[in-house]
C-alpha cells in the first residue's frame, strides 16, 4: 500500500483518453475507488485497495502487482465455481420470473419457459447444465483440497468452508431438481429423500422441516424457497467467507510449490479467457445436448427404474442392498460424512506429515468404493 498520491509516469497536464476523463470528472464528485474496492470482497482483487487514491493510480498499481499465476487448473476450480454460481444466480432470477411453484402449474410453466418464452430454452438449459458443472466443480475442488493436503494449519478453515460449499451445492442441486415437477425429477427427489430419511437424527429433523415424507405441493413450495432464497444466501456467505479467509492466508501455490508470478493485468485477461471458455462450453452443451422433458409427475404411478440424483446413488445402493433397518445404514453414512470433514484435520494435528501419504491412500480407496457403489446403484436402482 503505497502512500504516494501521484502517478510518477504521467503528469496532470498530459492528454488523457476520454474514458479517463469521464472517471476524473466522476472522481471530483464521488469516491469511485471506494466503489471499486467492493470488488475485493468477492475475490477479484487480491491486494487491499487504498480508497483515498484516484482509481487510475489504484488500477495501475494493481495491474502491475506481481501475483501468483492464477489460471492454473487447480486454482481454476475455485474460480469456475464462483463464475458458475454467478451464472446460476443470473439465469435463476430470469427463470423465477416465469416459474409457478405449485404442483398443478410447475411442469407447464417450466415447459412454457422452454417452449414459449423468447430465449427461454437457452436460459433453462444454461441453468441446468450450469448446475451439473457447478456440482462437479465444487466436488472436484474438495477432492483437490484433500489431495494437495490443504487442510494443514493455517488452512483448516478453508477446508471446512470447502466442505460447506460442497454440502450447500448438493442441497441446491437437490432442491432445484424437484422444481420442474417432471416425472424423472420428481421420482429422483422421492428416492433422494429416502436416503435423507435413513440418516439418524438429521433425517427426522429434515423430514419435519420440509413437511413430511410425501412430496406434495407444500414440499414443492418449501424446496422452492430453499432453492431461491435460503441456500443461495448461505452459499454467497460461504463464498465471501472463503475469499476473505483466502486474502488473509494467501493462495496455496505461493506457500507450497514456489511462486509462479504474473501481473494482475495478465491475470484479468486470463480470467476473461477462462470465463469465455466456460461460457462457450456451456452454450455448446445447452444447444447441442439439451435436457429433455418426460411429462408431468404423477404421484400415483411410479415409473420403472427411478433413481436418486447421481451423487446419492452410492448411498442409495447401500440402502437397497444392505439388509437390516435403514437407520443402521444411515448411521454408517452419517459417520462417513462427518469423518470426511474432520478426519484430515484431526490427522494433521496429531500425526503431522507422516500419515499424509496413508491418508491419500485412504482417500483413493474411498473414492474407488464410492464409484463402485455408484455403478451398483445405477445398475440395481429401480422399484423398491
Amino acid at each position: 500500500m503505497s502512500a504516494t498520491p501521484q502517478d510518477p509516469h504521467r503528469g496532470p497536464g498530459s492528454a488523457t483518453p476520454l474514458r479517463w476523463a469521464i472517471v476524473e470528472w466522476l472522481e471530483k464528485r464521488i469516491n469511485v475507488t471506494e466503489l471499486f474496492s467492493l470488488l475485493t470482497h468477492f475475490g477479484l482483487v487480491y491486494t487491499p485497495v487504498d480508497t483515498r487514491r484516484p482509481l487510475r493510480e489504484v488500477m495501475r498499481e494493481i495491474g502491475e502487482t506481481p501475483l501468483v499465476s492464477y489460471a492454473r487448473w487447480p486454482h481454476v476450480l475455485g474460480l469456475l465455481a464462483a463464475l458458475l454460481f454467478g451464472l446460476e444466480a443470473f439465469t435463476g432470477i430470469l427463470l423465477a420470473f416465469y416459474y409457478h411453484p405449485t404442483a398443478e402449474a410447475a411442469y407447464d410453466s417450466t415447459a412454457g419457459i422452454v417452449r414459449d418464452v423468447p430465449a427461454g430454452w437457452f436460459i433453462h438449459q444454461m441453468h441446468v447444465w450450469g448446475a451439473y458443472l457447478l456440482v462437479a466443480v465444487v466436488l472436484l475442488r474438495v477432492a483437490r483440497l484433500f489431495w494437495d493436503r490443504l487442510y494443514h494449519a493455517p488452512r483448516e478453515v478453508l477446508w471446512v468452508s470447502g466442505m460447506l460449499l460442497g454440502f450447500l451445492v448438493l442441497q441446491l442441486d437437490f432442491t432445484g431438481r424437484l422444481l420442474p415437477w417432471d416425472v424423472k425429477s420428481y421420482w429422483a427427489a422421492v428416492r433422494g429423500l429416502e436416503v435423507v430419511w435413513s440418516l439418524p437424527v438429521i433425517g427426522p429433523i429434515l423430514s419435519f422441516l420440509v413437511g413430511g415424507r410425501i412430496i406434495n405441493d407444500d414440499v414443492l413450495l418449501r424446496f422452492y424457497v430453499l432453492h431461491i432464497v435460503v441456500l443461495p444466501a448461505l452459499y454467497l456467505g460461504a463464498i465471501w467467507f472463503t475469499f476473505a479467509t483466502m486474502r488473509r492466508i494467501g493462495l496455496s501455490q505461493a506457500t507450497e510449490r514456489g511462486v509462479a508470478t504474473t501481473t494482475f493485468r495478465k491475470h484479468i485477461i486470463d480470467l476473461v479467457t477462462i470465463t469465455l471458455a466456460l461460457f462457450t462450453g456451456l452454450v455448446t452443451l445447452a444447444t447441442l445436448v439439451p435436457f429433455r422433458f418426460h411429462g408431468p409427475a404423477d404421484p400415483y404411478t411410479t415409473p420403472a427404474g427411478t433413481r436418486p440424483p447421481w451423487y446419492m446413488l452410492a448411498a442409495y445402493a447401500l440402502l437397497q442392498n444392505v439388509p437390516g433397518p435403514a437407520f443402521l445404514v444411515g448411521t454408517v453414512l452419517l459417520v462417513v460424512a462427518l469423518a470426511l470433514v474432520f478426519l484430515p484435520m484431526w490427522s494433521a494435528r496429531h500425526h503431522e506429515a507422516v500419515d499424509d501419504k496413508r491418508l491419500r491412500q485412504v482417500g483413493i480407496a474411498f473414492a474407488a468404493l464410492w464409484l463402485v457403489l455408484t455403478v451398483v446403484g445405477q445398475l440395481t436402482g429401480g422399484h423398491k
Binding site: 502491475e64 417452449r115 493485468r265 462457450t280 447441442l288
Partner: protein
C-alpha cells in the same frame, strides 16, 4: 352423616326411576320405528297362520300393498282359522302351470285396472305369440309361464335390483331353463346362458356394471320372446350397432346372405357368445364361407393390410410427437390430429361391414395420411432446429477470434508510453 346419606339414596332412587321411565317416554305408537311383525295382515288375512313361508314371500311383493290378497289367486276364505272353511268358497289351491298366464292376465290385461300404475296390458297377447306361449298352448308344460320369470309369491317390481327381471338378473332368470344342462340336452336347444356369459355383452353388464348392455330380452323380446328370424338378425343387432348395420346393408353381403339363408351378423360374430371385435379377424373370417384364393376371400386380408399400415403410420407419428413433447415443442394440434386419425380408423372398421375394400380404404388412407403428414411436419421442424443449432459454429468462430485478441493483449503487455 345419616341424614345426608339418606338424602343421597333418595336422589339415586329418583334418578333410577327416571331412567327406567325414559324408554316408555320415547316409545311412540307410530314413531317411525319398523312396523311390528304382524301375522294377520290385510293382504294375507289368516292364511299366513298356516302358510307362514308363502306369507313372508308374498309380503315382499308390491301386490301385497295393492289390494291383491291370497284369495285373489287361490280363492277360499282368509277370515277364518278353520281349515275346511278356509279352503272352501271357490278355493283353487295350487294354480296349475297352464292356468297361470290366464290368471295373471285377469288383472294385467285389464286396461282400467292397470291404468293407475301405468303398466302395459298386452303381455298376455304377446306371450301367446312367443315360443313359450305357442308350446304351452300345445300342452307343453315345461315352458316358462309368468311365475317362472317373475316368481310366484315374491313378485318384485322390475326396477328393484333384487327382482328376477332386473337387468343384471335377467340372464340368470332365463338361464334357469336355458342354462340347465339336463333340460337343454333333453330338448335339443342351445345352452344360451353358458355362451352369453362368455360374451362382450355379459362383460359389459356384469364386470363394468353397464345396465344398458344387452341381456336376453334385448334381442329376443320380453313377453313375446322368440329367436329372431334369418333376415331379422341385422335389424335386431342394428338397434344398437346402427352404423355397422347401415354399412352391412349397403354391401353385397346382405342380399347374398339372405339368398343363401345365412344368419347375417351371427355368421361372423357368433350369436350368444359374441366376442369383442378384433381387427385381426378381418383376415381370417372370409375363408369361413369363401374358398381360399377366391377374390372375395382376399378382400378381408386386403382391408386388414390397409388398416394395419394406417395403424403403423399413426404409431410412428405418436412416437415423433412424444419426441417433440420431450423438447418440448407445441404439439397440441398434433395430439388433436391423432385423435382425428383414430376416428377414421374406427369408421374404417365400421365401413368394413360393407365388405367393400375401396370404402374401407377411403377411411384408412385418410388416417394414414394424417399420420404421415404429422411425421413430415415434425421432421421438418426438427430439421429447422438442427439448422439453428448449426449457428453454434458462428458463435465458436467469434469466441476463437476473441480468445486470439485476448492472447495478443496478454503478451503485448501494457500500452507503450508516448
Amino acid at each position: 352423616v345419616t341424614p345426608r346419606a339418606g338424602g343421597t339414596r333418595t336422589l339415586v332412587l329418583a334418578l333410577l326411576a327416571t331412567l327406567a321411565l325414559a324408554p316408555a317416554a320415547f316409545a311412540q305408537p307410530d314413531g317411525g320405528s319398523p312396523a311390528p311383525l304382524r301375522i294377520v295382515t290385510p293382504a294375507s288375512g289368516r292364511c299366513g297362520m298356516c302358510h307362514p313361508g308363502d306369507r313372508v314371500a308374498f309380503e315382499k311383493s308390491p301386490h301385497a300393498r295393492e289390494e291383491v290378497h291370497c284369495t285373489s289367486c287361490h280363492g277360499g276364505d282368509d277370515t277364518t282359522m278353520d281349515k275346511a272353511q278356509a279352503h272352501s268358497k271357490g278355493f283353487t289351491g295350487h294354480v296349475s302351470k297352464a292356468a297361470v298366464p290366464k290368471m295373471c292376465a285377469s288383472c294385467h290385461s285389464d286396461e282400467k285396472r292397470m291404468r293407475p300404475y301405468d303398466l302395459q296390458v298386452d303381455q298376455f297377447e304377446l306371450y301367446q305369440t312367443s315360443r313359450h306361449g305357442i308350446l304351452l298352448a300345445k300342452g307343453d308344460t315345461q315352458v316358462a309361464v309368468c311365475s317362472d320369470c317373475h316368481g310366484a309369491h315374491d313378485i318384485l317390481a322390475a326396477s328393484d335390483p333384487a327382482s328376477r327381471i332386473f337387468p343384471t338378473n335377467i340372464p340368470r332368470t332365463c338361464g334357469t331353463c336355458h342354462g340347465d344342462t339336463t333340460l337343454v340336452r333333453q330338448r335339443h336347444i342351445k345352452n344360451a346362458y353358458r355362451d352369453y356369459l362368455t360374451s362382450v355383452h355379459a362383460h359389459q353388464l356384469f364386470d363394468r356394471g353397464n345396465l344398458r348392455a344387452p341381456t336376453c330380452v334385448s334381442c329376443h323380446g320380453v313377453h313375446g320372446a322368440a329367436p329372431p328370424e334369418v333376415g331379422d338378425v341385422t335389424k335386431v343387432c342394428g338397434r344398437c350397432h346402427t352404423a355397422e348395420r347401415r354399412a352391412f346393408i349397403a354391401g353385397p353381403h346382405a342380399a347374398g346372405m339372405a339368398r343363401n339363408n345365412v344368419p347375417e351378423c351371427i355368421a361372423c360374430h357368433g350369436e350368444h357368445g359374441i366376442q369383442p371385435s378384433v381387427t385381426e379377424r378381418l383376415g381370417s373370417s372370409c375363408v369361413k364361407c369363401h374358398e381360399k384364393g377366391d377374390k372375395f376371400e382376399q378382400m378381408g386380408p386386403k382391408m386388414l393390410a390397409d388398416y394395419q399400415s394406417a395403424v403403423t403410420e399413426i404409431a410412428k407419428a405418436e412416437k415423433v410427437i412424444a419426441e417433440a413433447d420431450g423438447v418440448p415443442m407445441a404439439t397440441e394440434d398434433y395430439h388433436a390430429r391423432i385423435e382425428e386419425a383414430r376416428t377414421y380408423l374406427r369408421e374404417a372398421m365400421t365401413a368394413a361391414h360393407s365388405v367393400q375394400p375401396e370404402t374401407v380404404a377411403g377411411f384408412t388412407l385418410r388416417a394414414k395420411s394424417v399420420g404421415t403428414e404429422i411425421q413430415t411436419e415434425l421432421h421438418r421442424k426438427f430439421g429447422d432446429r438442427r439448422t439453428s443449432q448449426a449457428m453454434i459454429l458462428v458463435f465458436w468462430f467469434y469466441v476463437a477470434v476473441t480468445v486470439g485478441i485476448l492472447r495478443r493483449l496478454r503478451e503485448r503487455g501494457p500500452k507503450a508510453k508516448k
